[in-house]
Amino acid sequence: MNKRVFKFAISNIVKSRWFTVASVLVMTFTFFMLSSFISVGVISRDVLKYLETQAQITVFFKDSFLEDDILKIKSDLELDPDIQSVGYTSKQEALDSYIGEHQNDPLLLESLTRDIFPASLDIRARDIKYLPEVVRKFEGNTNVEEVVYYKDAITTFKKFSDIIKYGGIAMVTLLLLTSIITVLLTIGSSIYIRNDEIAVMRLVGGSSWFIRGPFIIQGLIYGVVAAFISQIVFTIIVSVLGGDIALLFKGIPVVNLNFVYLLIVFGTQLLFGALLGFVGSMFAVKRYLKI
């Protein structure tokens, strides 16, 4: 790259310093929101995936219904191509599991016996759409105590996840547009400041790149600097909240916000930064700089 073109770009930035601050701040905020929404989106996708892999229907049987009969139903269900897996939990296993979860609360465990825990089947369909059919099979069955159906919980979470996803896309798109307009106005002001110089450059035979290049590089510098600042802020926040996030999703295999993840986020921000700076400055050059 011609060092003079780069020098002119730096000089433009210094001359429009307050516009520069405004542009970089708006872009930094945009990239930070972009990183945040990407992260929230990835985590909610992982949570949803996890929820979908968990038992989607649990059928509790009456005490009078024998284990052999339950296991017979299990075998029949396993032959169904729509069913992915069926797990049996006996009364004893249910008691053991409860005790395991509440071992720090002896008062609660004092009067427990296996009789109060029903035996159950945990059923997972290959697709969430097959669940209503499975539920219908047990409805009206006199041996069934209760059917717990998790589809609504999953659907609600899926809706919540979609709202985050589409809301995020809309908000980031709006911010990206705002950033492009800010860069356009900033570069436009730089072009205005250098109007006389540009006129002279044109008349002494300055090439298109020599005249336009500094403004395009100026936009690229804004994008890259904003990506760096946003990454620093994002890394600090992830470092501070990382432990809490891990605690919140304990037991759920969500994406690890580690160095590799931060590097990917940084790469994305850099890409967006360069693209946004380039697009904004190209618009400005096309709009305000006639050669």
Partner: protein, 227 residues
């Protein structure tokens, strides 16, 4: 060197700046373009550097038909031409040296080359001692000499001077004219638009007179009077 063939220039507002002009300027020639304000002198100069496009007709500069030039061919064309304005068009945030060096920067000369070439031209125009001054520290005559140095530094084949003495005192006027005559003696084609009949009459060069966009006189050793 420069050929105008049946050139007409009509602006969008309906003003007819040039009306079917035909003119040929040979290499190394010194031509005065004279005429009242609005006669079309500046329009002719602007057409030569392709700052304006003719409404009709053909313009050739150094063997190139301007109509066939692509946008990327315009900078090389302009590097063959030095343009001097009545109002100097200097960059007031740059020093005298930097104003001249800009012409070399755009063509990609190295800092070392610039450091060697620029002082030579500043010496030619008598501004060696003011290299680090800013244009606002110069007199009108010095500003115009600086503008001439900027126009000459990339060694153009053609100099277009648009009323170069219009804003300077009489003694500076003669310095500027002598400079342009010297440049012409080196083989550079010079076209100078002027109102100043004293200069025209003294130099006895070719005179092309314009009136309302038409050439009304073309004399090889012409003169110019107030009427």
């Amino acid at each position: 060197m420069i050929i105008f063939e049946d050139v007409t220039k009509k602006y969008k507002d309906g003003t007819l700046a040039l009306d079917d002009i035909s003119l040929s300027v040979a290499p190394k020639e010194f031509v005065f373009l004279v005429g009242t304000s609005g006669a079309g002198k500046t329009t002719m100069l602007r057409l030569i550097v392709k700052e304006e496009l003719p409404t009709s007709g053909k313009i050739m500069v150094d063997g190139q038909d301007l109509a066939s030039l692509k946008n990327s061919d315009i900078p090389p064309l302009r590097r063959k031409i030095g343009y001097i304005f009545q109002d100097y068009r200097l960059l007031y945030s740059r020093t005298v040296f930097q104003n001249v060096s800009l012409s070399l920067e755009v063509v990609g000369k190295t800092d070392e080359e610039i450091a060697t070439i620029v002082p030579k031209y500043l010496e030619l125009v008598g501004l060696s001692s003011k290299m680090q001054n800013f244009p606002y520290q110069l007199s009108g005559g010095e500003k115009q000499r600086l503008a001439i140095a900027r126009a000459l530094v990339h060694e153009p084949k053609i100099i277009l001077a648009d009323e170069p003495t219009g804003m300077v005192d009489p003694s500076s006027t003669w310095e500027i004219v002598k400079l342009l005559e010297k440049v012409n003696s080196w083989g550079t084609t010079v076209i100078m638009a002027t109102h100043d009949f004293n200069i025209v009459n003294l130099l006895k060069k070719r005179v092309v007179e314009l009136d309302q966009g038409r050439i009304v006189r073309d004399q090889s050793k012409g003169s110019y009077s107030k009427e």
